[in-house]
């Protein structure tokens, strides 16, 4: 029996000690907290519906109780003394004296006074319901709500009846280890949902409490011990995934439709065909299997018509000298003949002023000799090299046109430079030569090699030149495509032309049948 009683007493004692110790710790924490507050001395707080305490800081460590006196009085009541106790704060190494009131009356003014050595040190009047300093909330719980970035926080308020509807709370939360925290205020509720948090992150949460200041007022309680919780990791909303897939599918179908409808156009742009000339050569590759000669022969007319069209667009260019006549058998004789002929001509020139500036080309005498020979021996002459184009040449000189006067000398010079085309016409005899010279001079035209046109307005004084064959009067023309008109003209018109030096002759060439080495080919090509 005794042993059981002693055991029970021991247990009770231990519990009381634990409670007091816990309470003491809480009290010390509150004193330490309020000590930093800037309220006037003595600092007073009430922990609930009772337990009113006032304290003040002291520097001396000795004889504290003797020097200080604490007096208080409620309204319309007498003053009462309070027992002063001391407390040493381990954290801040400070000493405080405090008074624990035996009774706490709310809603009435309270007057407290502190005396030191009989002298009033502090004097303060306040209402007790305005100095509430509660314990922090208990049973703080933080759980994941299952939704992304959210945490459910709940706690229990301090067990104060009639006051819990006047309490406000502050919830502080931060990523574990981070010093940047956010605070949420909440009234009249002990639960809170934290939103906008990072996914899959560990958070710390604290809570503290205070009275709202309407009926009761006081100080913020200390923070609770932190509670940790982890937010859920990011989860892809299945609806969003489905929508994304659906939109992607639609886009694919649309692009496919566009590509299929315009595939030809796209193929042409991205993979152009190698151009082939088939359309320009109809039937070349299909009918003639690429045989260009065959195809050409079949399509000759149309082809040449086109090329002629091309050629005719070219501007006419002046006729050029074909080649120099190479003197062979007749090289010496013409020269011999020339000299006296030149002399004769020179005298004739001097005699008749008709010649003017007409200068006979050096081969003129030779040609005349050849022609004379031909007249005498037409058969042998037919084989003369006169027929050979490489032995012949054309001296291009329009001085032969001018028959009249010295005044035309200047013009002759001009003509000599500009239009150097000259027809050499050989007549029998010098007299005829002179006459023919005049004729020649009056003849600006150059007859084509070969047969002359019957429309020619030549004046053959002797009419010894039957207009037949190409032997007696011809000219090899190196025609590079020029079109010259040798239309029949009267002597008067010729004279006029001689004056002006205008070539308006149309060259009618009938030498298609002949095989001239190169000039004819040129001509052929030109016509």
């Amino acid at each position: 029996m005794r042993k059981m009683r002693s055991d029970r007493l021991q247990v009770v004692f231990m519990l009381c000690l634990a409670f007091v110790t816990a309470g003491g710790k809480s009290f010390e924490r509150k004193v330490a907290q309020l000590l930093q507050d800037k309220t006037e001395d003595p600092k007073c707080f009430v922990e609930g519906k009772k337990d009113l305490t006032c304290f003040w800081e002291v520097e001396e460590e000795r004889n504290l109780h003797d020097r200080y006196t604490f007096m208080y009085s409620y309204e319309n009541e007498k003053k009462m003394a309070c027992v002063v106790s001391s407390l040493s704060l381990r954290a801040s190494n400070k000493t405080v004296l405090f008074c624990k009131f035996p009774q706490a009356l709310f809603f009435t003014p309270l007057n407290v006074q502190v005396f030191r050595d009989g002298q009033i040190l502090y004097n303060r009047i306040f209402n007790v319901e305005n100095v509430l300093l509660l314990d922090p909330p208990s049973n703080l719980t933080v759980m994941s709500s299952g939704k992304e970035g959210q945490l459910n926080v709940s706690w229990l308020p301090p067990p104060l009846k009639h006051m819990d509807d006047s309490m406000i709370y502050e919830v502080r939360y931060a990523v574990e280890g981070s010093h940047m925290g956010k605070v949420e205020k909440i009234k009249a509720s002990t639960t809170l949902v934290l939103r906008g948090l990072q996914s899959d992150t560990r958070y710390e949460v604290w809570v503290r409490v205070k009275l709202d200041g309407v009926a009761y007022d006081g100080y913020w309680s200390s923070w609770t011990d932190p509670v940790f919780a982890v937010t859920v990791p990011t989860d892809m909303d299945p609806l969003i995934v489905l929508l994304v897939l659906f939109i992607g599918l639609i886009l694919c179908l649309l692009s496919l439709t566009v590509i299929l409808s315009h595939h030809k156009f796209l193929l042409k742009k991205l993979w152009p065909d190698i151009p082939t000339p088939e359309h320009k050569f109809p039937g070349l590759f299909t009918v003639y299997k690429g045989d260009f000669k065959e195809w050409m022969s079949q399509n000759n007319g149309s082809m040449w018509g086109r090329s002629v069209h091309v050629y005719t667009e070219e501007l006419p260019s002046p006729v050029e000298v074909l080649s120099e006549v190479s003197l062979t058998n007749y090289s010496t004789s013409p020269r011999e003949g020339r000299k006296p002929a030149e002399k004769e001509e020179g005298s004739e020139r001097a005699d008749s002023g008709l010649m003017g500036g007409w200068r006979e080309p050096p081969h003129a005498q030779w040609l005349m000799e050849q022609l004379r020979a031909l007249q005498e021996n037409p058969e042998s002459f037919s084989q003369s090299t006169l027929l050979q184009s490489h032995d012949t040449y054309v001296a291009l000189n329009q001085n032969s046109q001018h028959v009249q006067g010295d005044t035309e000398r200047q013009v002759d010079d001009v003509f000599e430079e500009t239009l150097p085309l000259q027809t050499l016409f050989i007549t029998a005899g010098t007299s005829s030569l002179s006459a023919s010279h005049s004729d020649l001079g009056s003849l600006p035209q150059s007859s084509g090699s070969g047969r002359l046109s019957s429309q020619s307005s030549f004046e053959y004084p002797n009419h010894t030149w039957p207009p037949k064959g190409p032997g007696y009067a011809y000219m090899a023309v190196a025609d590079s495509g020029v079109s010259m008109d040798y239309s029949p003209m009267s002597s008067s018109s010729i004279a006029e032309l001689g004056k002006h030096g205008i070539y308006t002759n149309e060259y009618k060439n009938e030498i298609f049948g002949h095989k001239w080495p190169f000039s004819c080919q040129h001509i052929e090509s030109g016509y």
């Binding site: 009772k50 409620y74 009356l105 709310f106 809603f107 009435t108 009639h162 309407v214 009926a215 009761y216």
Partner: protein, 186 residues
């Protein structure tokens, strides 16, 4: 026929009773109404502190005791609490009305009117909670305060302070502990 006439007479009685008596109010358990009154009482104190001229005369007023010892209060039954609160409210109304006569400052007079109106509303609230006891507990001005639950103040600022403390204290405690509201919460 007789039954019918009896029924009609009963109906008439009910109508008369209903006309005479105030219809039962729904219990007003929301304390935010009281908090609003408390703030307006505090505003009167602030206006009083800033009043310069025409702020009433020095006069004694009988006001209720406002102090609350929780250890004692919680052991008092609700009805006693209700009586005390009701008495105190009556005293306050009387004192405020008396003080208002002497006030010429318009803001102060206006806020005093507000306070008086609020206290009347509190009476209605208590009635809704079925806590209103005697209809009239108004004491004549010249009668001495016999109750120990009264005290005397000598100025309007003190009167306003008492009003504020009373509303925040005893009135609020009573309303928060009203059985009608407890029944709703539970």
């Amino acid at each position: 026929m007789q039954a019918f006439s009896g029924l009609v007479s009963v109906l008439i009685v009910f109508v008369w009773l209903g006309g005479n008596q105030v219809s039962p109010l729904r219990p007003i358990c929301d304390l935010r109404v009281l908090d609003h009154f408390v703030r307006e009482a505090r505003d009167s104190e602030v206006i009083m502190r800033g009043c310069r001229g025409g702020c009433g005369v020095m006069k004694s007023y009988f006001v209720p005791l406002t102090r609350v010892d929780f250890a004692v209060w919680e052991h008092i039954d609700v009805q006693s609490q209700a009586v005390e609160v009701q008495t105190g409210l009556s005293l306050l109304v009387q004192a405020l009305s008396t003080a208002k006569i002497t006030v010429s400052n318009s803001p102060l007079a206006s806020t005093l009117d507000n306070n008086i109106s609020n206290i009347h509303s509190l009476g209605q609230i208590l009635h809704s909670l079925d806590l209103q006891q005697a209809r009239s507990t108004v004491l004549p001005d010249d009668s001495a305060p016999a109750s120990s639950q009264m005290q005397e103040v000598s100025s309007l600022p003190e009167l306003l302070q008492v009003q504020s403390s009373f509303l925040r204290g005893k009135v609020r405690l009573l309303l928060s502990a009203a059985p009608a509201c407890q029944r709703q919460n539970s």
